[in-house]
């Protein structure tokens, strides 16, 4: 494999990692602050994609579509929090898993009921179509490059929010001591709704961004959801930094695994079987990575030690 191709694959891995980060950041934030495990996070991703596809179809504006996706998913998230989620904070993980599993069913079939069973159309904007030449002779799709950029901007934004704003201080306080900040007069209910909406908005944004290069359809959220869980578990639940590192690790492992493993098997067997075997093992690669990390560090790379 040529160095250029390898470099391009590394970029691909980064790009998929960055998108996973958008999902994982919300999940890990919600877990860190509220102690809630939210399986329905993938549904918010789907809501974002559907909102974007609808708005883009009506107005033709991609930027407007993204804004709607973010706002729409944040709104859906806030609604979800107020109606259902806030009743779950005091419950154990088991109840949370089941209730949010139920939410997946409701969201998925509800979306299908509203939008039909056919995939929707959402495309990249003209000004981001085509490719750009990167140094070293790499040809790379402009849109994917933009995705990496957006992911980094969100990452920096989250860091800024966390470290430099009042909201961030409250969020960190909420992670450490719930009773204390309630005693200090912070409206903890509103803080939770806000955090949940923030996480939901990020998921919606990811859904819209990825929806433009994938298929906008019911059920699109679940595979991403599972990957996002893998990411936050690897990174350590509650840690934004862990989510970023975990997302990049998972993105790179997934992409490079699917490229390199078949090459590896070609050393032992014919091209067709190597392709089959390589694909079989690469599909398990990230889960092996996760199991490995947990066995080595039972609370993830950046998780709080018990």
């Amino acid at each position: 494999m040529s160095p250029i191709l390898l470099a391009e694959q590394v970029l691909n891995g980064l790009q998929s990692g960055v998108m996973l980060f958008l999902m994982a950041a919300g999940l890990t934030l919600i877990f860190g602050v509220m102690g809630l495990i939210n399986l329905a996070h993938g549904s918010l991703y789907m809501v974002g994609a559907f909102a974007a596809a609808t708005v883009a179809g009506l107005t033709g504006s991609f930027v407007l579509a993204l804004v709607t996706a973010l706002a729409g998913a944040a709104l859906a998230g806030a609604l979800m929090e107020v109606v259902v989620i806030r009743r779950l904070y005091a419950r154990d993980h088991l109840d949370q898993v089941l209730a949010t599993f139920a939410l997946i069913l409701i969201f998925s079939e509800g979306t299908r009921w509203a939008f039909g069973s056919f995939p929707l159309y959402l495309d990249t904007p003209d000004w981001l179509s085509g490719t750009v030449q990167l140094p070293g002779g790499i040809t790379y799709p402009a849109y994917r490059l933009a995705l990496i950029g957006v992911g980094l901007v969100v990452g920096v934004g989250l860091w800024w929010l966390n470290a430099r704003t009042r909201l961030g201080i409250r969020i960190r306080a909420g992670e450490n001591d719930r009773e204390m900040i309630a005693a200090l007069g912070v409206d903890i209910g509103r803080l939770y709704t806000l955090v949940f909406a923030l996480g939901a908005g990020l998921a919606g944004l990811a859904g819209a961004l990825v929806g433009a290069i994938q298929s906008v359809q019911v059920g699109m959220g679940e595979p991403v959801l599972i990957l996002a869980f893998v990411v936050i578990v690897i990174g350590g639940i509650g840690s934004i930094r862990g989510a970023l590192i975990g997302a990049l690790l998972v993105g790179l492992t997934g992409t490079l695994g699917s490229v390199l493993l078949p090459e590896l098997f070609k050393l032992f067997t014919d091209a067709s079987s190597a392709a089959t075997l390589g694909s079989a093992f690469s599909s398990m690669a990230i889960y092996v990575l996760m199991a490995g990390v947990l066995i080595w560090r039972p609370t993830g790379l950046f998780g709080a030690r018990s």
């Binding site: 495309d123 990249t124 290069i213 298929s215 906008v216 595979p223």
Partner: protein, 381 residues
């Protein structure tokens, strides 16, 4: 809603029955297809095409039960059991997916029921596992991939890159392509089932020096790949089976699909009377263009009706013979069954074009005439 629900006496034993006709029905048909969850669009088209055929015939002695398999094999088996045991159906049909067909068909035919496939037709059931009561009205799974292979050969491509998901239908797909193409390959890649990001594969394609691309990625996978491929700025001819470029998929694909050549055994501009009538009737009734699944569903209904004209399913031998005659006007033109109960038909190449604002397919050429299936000799029947 086609179905009515009867709640049986005990609430612990609710039973549904579905009917279009009164209780004096003489023939019962069970349609098992995917109506909810991912992949529902294919099942809905199958059902709508099938029901269009049934409604045109307007026979009140045929009772039809339709159930949603949720694309889950165990649910499909459960429904089949129910239809056979409780509803006492004579004929089953409607399954979209090969894995569901493999779960249902062998057991159903073993119990003496007829199964007419509106889509899935896996290799096992065409070869060693063939059964006199099993008829594939659609095709044999490999056919449309073979068409793409034949097209690649006729176009003089010498270095195609081929790709499919890593599961039996995907492996059959690439085998089908290679069966008719026979030349060198720039690369052969198996992706993951359900994969949504193809950046890595696209980079490999770019680096491989391929002169064309063949891929089989059903459902959302195909939409993702085509969009991403269009963005990658690689200017190569693209081929695939009809599934990813079918009418139900095109709106989600957008202009990215323009110009793609796809292997099919039906197209809405196929020039025969039955097809013209079908297309206009479907559009009128459902207010959308028919997909290839709708066409298969419609043909299946008409094949079944033609056989019912001649015999009752209770007389299995006579009914089987009547089915085998295929005495109906297929929307695909000439149609007959080979010894393994799979069709012998022409296979075409279509191209995705734009008619006004609407994306659709046009016929380009006939690439294989009177194609049967690769497994016909393995069928001892």
């Amino acid at each position: 809603m086609i179905r009515t629900t009867l709640l049986a006496a005990a609430s612990l034993a609710a039973t549904t029955a579905a009917m279009t006709a009164a209780a004096q029905a003489e023939v019962k048909v069970g349609v098992i297809t995917t109506l909810s969850g991912g992949g529902a669009s294919l099942g809905i088209d199958t059902r709508d095409g099938f029901m269009l055929g049934m409604e045109q015939a307007a026979r009140d002695d045929i009772e039809i039960a339709i159930e949603d398999d949720q694309r889950k094999p165990d649910v499909a088996v459960q429904i089949a059991d129910k239809m056979i045991q409780s509803d006492k159906v004579d004929i089953l049909t409607g399954i979209v997916w090969s894995n569901l067909a493999m779960a249902v068909v062998p057991a159903a035919t073993a119990q003496g029921k007829f199964y007419l496939s509106t889509n899935a037709a896996p290799a096992q059931l065409a070869g060693r596992g063939c059964n006199p009561n099993y008829f594939a009205v659609s095709y044999q799974n490999d056919n449309l991939h073979e068409a793409a292979g034949a097209y690649a050969k006729s176009e003089g491509f010498s270095n195609p890159f081929i790709m499919a998901p890593n599961y039996p239908a995907g492996q059959d797909s690439l085998a089908g392509f290679k069966r008719y193409y026979e030349g060198d390959l720039a690369g052969e890649v198996y992706t993951q089932l359900g994969q949504t990001d193809y950046a890595a594969e696209i980079a490999q394609i770019r680096a491989s020096g391929a002169d064309s691309i063949f891929f089989f990625l059903p459902g959302g996978m195909g939409i993702s790949f085509v969009k991403q491929f269009a963005d990658a700025g690689i200017d190569l001819p693209v081929m695939g089976p009809a599934f990813s470029f079918d009418q139900s998929m095109l709106p989600a694909l957008g202009d990215a699909a323009l110009g793609v050549k796809n292997g099919a055994n039906w197209s809405k501009d196929l020039d025969n009377e039955a097809n013209a009538a079908f297309v206009s009737a479907f559009e009128e009734k459902y207010d959308r263009l028919p997909s290839i699944y709708a066409a298969y569903g419609y043909d299946t209904a008409n094949l079944m009706l033609s056989a019912l004209e001649k015999a009752e399913p209770s007389d299995a031998d006579a009914f089987r013979a009547a089915l085998k005659e295929a005495d109906f006007d297929s929307v695909r033109g000439d149609f007959k069954f080979d010894t393994n109960n799979h069709p012998i038909q022409d296979i075409y190449i279509r191209e995705v074009v734009k008619e006004g604002d609407v994306l659709t397919n046009h016929l380009v050429s006939t690439v294989i005439e009177d194609r049967s299936s690769a497994y016909v000799d393995e069928c001892k029947m």
